[in-house]
Amino acid sequence: MPSAIATLRVTARVLASVAGAYAVTAGTAALIAVLLVTGAHLSRSDALIIGSTVGYLVFTFLMLWCFAERRLARVWLVLLVAGICCHGGVMLLEPFMPLPGAAP
C-alpha cells in the first residue's frame, strides 16, 4: 500500500475514534436523557446525569472498537448509522417531552 494512502487511512481511523465516537456519544447521551424524561418521567437533571454517565462509557468503548474492527469502511459505516439513529431519535422524541411544570 502506498504510504500516503496508509497515512490517510490511519488519520481517518483516528478521526473516527475521536470525532466520530464523540458524535455518537453525544447523541446516545441525549437519547437516553430524552427517553428517561419522556418515558420514565425522571427530572431533567437526573436524566442528564444518567445519560452522560452512560455516554462516557459508550465513548470509551467506541474509541477502542474503532481499532478492534479491522475494516475501516465498516467503522465509519457503523458510526454514521449509529449517529443518525440516535440524533434522529432525539429529534423525533423531543416534542413528546413533558412541558415544564407538568412533570416533576
Binding site: 456519544t25 453525544a26 442528564l48 446525569i49 452522560s52 477502542l64 478492534a68
Partner: protein, 498 residues
C-alpha cells in the same frame, strides 16, 4: 512483541489494542502525566496551602460562631452583592471570607479564628488555587477543560486496552526483573504500577470525566433545558433582589443550628449571603461532607431577615449516586490513611505513565539510531521535560514562594511565571543534553527538594512554632525523601551510562 505497523493490518484483538495503546499512550501520555501529577498534589492541596502561606499555619481552630465574623466583613455585610464564609475544619485552621462587593473587584481574606483579625494577603495561589485547577483545566480556561476531559476518556480506554494486551496478567503481577535488562525492568514497572493501581486508575479516570456531567455533552444539556431553563439550576433556589432595603440580618448561628438539625449531622461550615441588605436577601448553607465518602451538593436556603426556610435541594437516588462519584474523586472526607492511599495511588499512576513513555523510547532507540530517525530524540526530550521537568517546575514554584517577599505586587503571578519558566528551561535542557538529561534533571530535583526544605526552615521558623506542625512537616519530610530518591536515581543512571 511489536505492534502492527498499521491498524488495517491483519491481527487479533491484542495486536489491535497494542496499536491503540502504543500511539494514544504516546501522544496523550504527556498530558496525562501533567493531570496525574497535579491531581496527586491536589490530594494535599490544603496542606500545600499551609506550607506556602506561613501566616495561616495556626493550631486547631476554636469553635466560633458565624455571627462573630460579621465585623470582619464590615460594611460589605449589608452592601455587597453577595458574600460567603467558609469556617475552619480539621484541615483548614483559618476562616475564608469571600466578598463580591457592590463596586470593585472580588475580595478574599483569611481570618484568624482566635483573634478575628484579617491575616495579611499571602500573595500566592498555593495548592487550592494553582495545582487543583491545573489538574482539570491546565489554567488555560475552557480549552484546558476539554483537553483534560478527553485525556480522561483516553485514560480509561488505555487501561482497558492495557489489560487486553497483557497476556499473563496474574503471573506478571509477581514479576519484577531488575537485573541486567533495563528494557525488561521498565516494562515490568509499567505493568506492576498499572496492575496494582488498576482499580484506582479506572475509577479515578472515569469519575474525573463523569462528574462534569453538565459540561462535556452539551447536546443533551441544551436539548433538555431549552424547553425548561429553570430546570438547569437542578433544584438550586434563587430569587432576584427586590430593590428595597430589608430588615436586619437574622442570627446566622441560628440558621446553622437549623441546617444541622435538618441534615442530622455535622455543623455546616459554608454560609453564603445573597443580596445582603435587600428585602429579598437570603442565606445559602451547604451540607458538610467531612464524614461521608459522598461529596454532598445539597444546600438549604433561608430568608435572611425572618430566618424562614425557603427551600432545600431535592435528593433523588440519581443525585446521591452523582454525589458519591463526586466524593470518590474529590476526596473531601477526613480520613488520613485513605488520603495517603490516594496520594500513593496517584504517584503509581505517574510512574505508570512515565515508564510507558520511557518504554516507547528505549524499545525504539537502537532501530531509530540505525535508520537515522529523529523520533526517539524528540520523544525523549519531551518525555524528560514533561516528567522530571514538571517535578523541577513544581519545586521552582515552591522555592519562588519562599524567596519572594510577602506584600510584593503581583507576587502570586510571579510564582506561576517561575513555574512555567523552569518548565521551559527543562525542555531546552532536555533538547540540548540528549541522554544525559535524565540523571542531570534528577540532580536538579534532588537539589530543589533540599533547597525548598532549607528555605522553608530558614524563612518561616516553623520548628519553633509547633502550632500546625504536621501539614508542613509532612510536606518537608516528603520533599526530603523525594530528594534522596532523586539523588539515588541520578547516581544509578550515571553509573549505567557509557
Amino acid at each position: 512483541m511489536s505492534p502492527p505497523v498499521h491498524p488495517d493490518d491483519p491481527g487479533d484483538l491484542r495486536l489491535a489494542m497494542n496499536w491503540f495503546h502504543t500511539w494514544f499512550g504516546l501522544f496523550l501520555g504527556g498530558l496525562l502525566f501533567v493531570i496525574f501529577w497535579t491531581g496527586t498534589l491536589a490530594v494535599f492541596d490544603r496542606e500545600i496551602d499551609r506550607w506556602m502561606m506561613p501566616a495561616t499555619r495556626l493550631g486547631t481552630a476554636p469553635a466560633i460562631t458565624a455571627d462573630a465574623l460579621l465585623p470582619v466583613i464590615g460594611d460589605h455585610a449589608t452592601t455587597a452583592r453577595q458574600w460567603r464564609m467558609i469556617l475552619p475544619d480539621a484541615r483548614v485552621p483559618v476562616v475564608e471570607v469571600q466578598i463580591s462587593p457592590a463596586k470593585g473587584s472580588f475580595i478574599r481574606h483569611f481570618v484568624d479564628p482566635r483573634t478575628m483579625r484579617i491575616l495579611p494577603d499571602e500573595g500566592t495561589y498555593g495548592g487550592t488555587r494553582f495545582f487543583y485547577p491545573y489538574h482539570f483545566r491546565l489554567n488555560i480556561g475552557v480549552t484546558g477543560l476539554w483537553l483534560c476531559a478527553f485525556a480522561a476518556v483516553v485514560m480509561v480506554a488505555l487501561c482497558i486496552s492495557g489489560v487486553i494486551i497483557h497476556r499473563k496478567i496474574f503471573a506478571d503481577f509477581f514479576t519484577l526483573r531488575i537485573v541486567r535488562k533495563p528494557l525488561r525492568t521498565i516494562l515490568d514497572l509499567h505493568n506492576l504500577s498499572g496492575v496494582l493501581a488498576l482499580p484506582f486508575l479506572l475509577v479515578i479516570s472515569f469519575t474525573g470525566v463523569a462528574v462534569f456531567t453538565f459540561s462535556y455533552l452539551p447536546t443533551a444539556q441544551s436539548l433538555l433545558f431549552r424547553g425548561d431553563p429553570a430546570a438547569a439550576a437542578s433544584g438550586y433556589f434563587s430569587r432576584k433582589p427586590a430593590g428595597q432595603p430589608g430588615g436586619p440580618l437574622v442570627s446566622l448561628e441560628g440558621l446553622r443550628d437549623k441546617a444541622t438539625a435538618y441534615w442530622n449531622g455535622d455543623r455546616p461550615k459554608y454560609v453564603q449571603l445573597i443580596h445582603p441588605g435587600d428585602a429579598n436577601a437570603y442565606v445559602e448553607i451547604r451540607r458538610p461532607s467531612a464524614r461521608t465518602i459522598s461529596y454532598s451538593t445539597e444546600a438549604i436556603w433561608f430568608d435572611a431577615a425572618s430566618g424562614e426556610l425557603l427551600a432545600t435541594s431535592p435528593t433523588t437516588g440519581t443525585r446521591r449516586f452523582y454525589d458519591f462519584m463526586y466524593g470518590i474523586h474529590l476526596v473531601q472526607f477526613d480520613h488520613w490513611p485513605l488520603r495517603w492511599l490516594y496520594f500513593l495511588s496517584g504517584l503509581a499512576g505517574c510512574a505508570l505513565i512515565a515508564t510507558g513513555l520511557l518504554f516507547w523510547v528505549q524499545s525504539r532507540r537502537k532501530r531509530h539510531e540505525k535508520l537515522g530517525m529523529r523520533g526517539v530524540h524528540v520523544t525523549e526530550a519531551l518525555s524528560a521535560a514533561i516528567t522530571t521537568g514538571l517535578l523541577a517546575a513544581t519545586l521552582g514554584f515552591m522555592i519562588t514562594n519562599r524567596l519572594l517577599p510577602v506584600g510584593l505586587e503581583g507576587r502570586a503571578s510571579m510564582e506561576v511565571w517561575a513555574f512555567h519558566a523552569v518548565w521551559v528551561a527543562t525542555l531546552l535542557h532536555a533538547a540540548i543534553r540528549g541522554r544525559s538529561v535524565w540523571h542531570e534533571q534528577c540532580w536538579m530535583i534532588a537539589a530543589g527538594c533540599l533547597a525548598a526544605v532549607l528555605l522553608n526552615a530558614g524563612t518561616t521558623g516553623y520548628l519553633t512554632n509547633g502550632n500546625s506542625l504536621w501539614p508542613v512537616a509532612g510536606i518537608d519530610l516528603f520533599l526530603l525523601s523525594s530528594g534522596v530518591v532523586a539523588a539515588w536515581t541520578a547516581l544509578k543512571l550515571r553509573r549505567k551510562q557509557p
